[in-house]
């Protein structure tokens, strides 16, 4: 099971997920084998055989799957921007709550 919040912020408000560059991906599926959070889904019979199925299962700030990617096809959002966004949401929540 994955967390539903990260630092008190609802996970679906945080934009943190891998993006697959299909011009580079060779469908080796190392990322799928690695990720214990079921972020990816394999679609054997489709033309695009791998998708980011559950982006909100992705652990915020984790980029470990990209370290398994030989063709360097996975990218993530900017960490600083994400940190700032989380802080802003927390401040909003404090002010409203």
């Amino acid at each position: 099971m994955s967390e539903t919040t990260f630092m008190g912020v609802e996970r679906d408000k945080i934009d943190w997920k891998p993006t697959i560059d299909y011009t580079k991906c060779d469908y080796c599926m190392e990322c799928v084998k690695f990720c214990p959070h079921k972020v990816f889904e394999v679609r054997e019979n489709e033309e695009i055989k791998l998708i980011v199925k559950n982006p909100h299962n992705c652990v915020v700030f984790c980029r470990a799957c990209s370290k398994t990617c030989g063709p360097d096809a996975l990218s993530f959002p900017d960490k600083n921007a994400t940190t700032q966004k989380i802080k802003e949401i927390r401040k909003e929540k404090e002010n409203n709550g």
């Binding site: 370290k67 398994t68 802080k87």
Partner: protein
């Protein structure tokens, strides 16, 4: 100077990075007292290379992040002394690698750079002053899930992030590392890539990598600051992280730059203990 090494390169013949790994290994063997291990032959006939591998420090050259050469080393229980990854080195040196399988200008330029770097490298001696060595011993609270024991130090000066890393703060400095959850998840840690001394790290920025036969993970810093020292013992003995990631297995020491702001996104013992328990339950359950 890279000399007297056993060199285990990627030999991927269908990728430019593989061809570069092979060429770099050959050049290192031409010009110095190094011996090559052919990864293809090693897989099927290890007797030929076991002696070389066990008598020399091992340099692993991975072509890409699939890390085939590293994985072979780990399968064979070899201790890696030094390693590099061609695609990462190309990025670091702003050299674009294309799909050509013959060495052209870019590939040769990268080989020259790496060759010079390796041949001019002193065997790494890292100096840091005694004043940065905080000696301490923590009190632990433990939690057991099946055969796995998870320890967590209880101390008001130790902060955690939800990415399973800790910071022990003392004045304007902090020692940082990973929690038991990380080392239990990875199992035997076989290689440690430290952060460079002197670099600045943002909160949630990377402060090195650790690698086991299962995976490689980047370490996510709980605090922002400048790296003033690293635990050099881990380069030879990364297994200390498994033994105790809070004391002898610490990773780096930072001079803090914005701790008051960092604290907003840090948690203490009580909160992290519950998170670690839940993660452990989910993982094994």
């Amino acid at each position: 100077m890279v000399e007297n090494y056993a060199i285990l390169p990627c030999n991927g013949l269908d990728k430019s990075a593989g061809i570069i790994s092979r060429e770099l290994a050959l050049k290192l063997c031409e010009n110095a007292q190094n011996e090559i291990i052919c990864p293809v032959f090693y897989r099927v006939a290890e007797a030929k290379y076991n002696k070389i591998a066990n008598e020399h420090p091992l340099l692993v050259i991975d072509g890409c992040l699939t890390r085939c050469a590293s994985k072979i080393a780990m399968e064979k229980n070899l201790k890696i002394s030094k390693k590099l990854t061609i695609t990462e080195e190309a990025k670091n040196h702003n050299i674009e690698l294309k799909s050509n399988l013959r060495l052209l200008e870019n590939e040769n330029a990268l080989i020259e750079i790496l060759l010079n770097g390796l041949n001019n490298a002193e065997d790494k001696v890292i100096l840091f002053s005694d004043e940065t060595k905080i000696l301490y011993k923590f009190e632990y609270v433990t939690f057991q899930k099946d055969k796995f024991i998870f320890r967590l130090p209880k101390n008001p000066e130790i902060y955690f992030n939800e990415n399973d890393c800790w910071a022990y703060v003392s004045g304007n400095r902090a020692r940082i590392g990973v929690t038991d959850f990380v080392q239990q998840s990875l199992s035997d840690i076989l290689y440690f890539t430290p952060p460079d001394i002197g670099i600045k790290i943002d909160q949630f920025g990377e402060f090195g990598e650790i690698e086991s036969s299962k995976s490689v993970i980047e370490l996510i810093s709980p605090v922002s600051g400048k790296v003033i020292s690293i635990n050099e013992t881990l380069i030879q003995k990364p297994e200390l992280i498994n033994e105790n990631p809070y004391e002898l297995g610490w990773i780096a020491e930072l001079e803090l730059t914005d701790f008051e702001s960092d604290k907003e996104l840090l948690i203490g013992f009580d909160e992290y203990f519950e998170i670690m328990k839940k993660k452990a339950e989910d993982k094994n359950g």
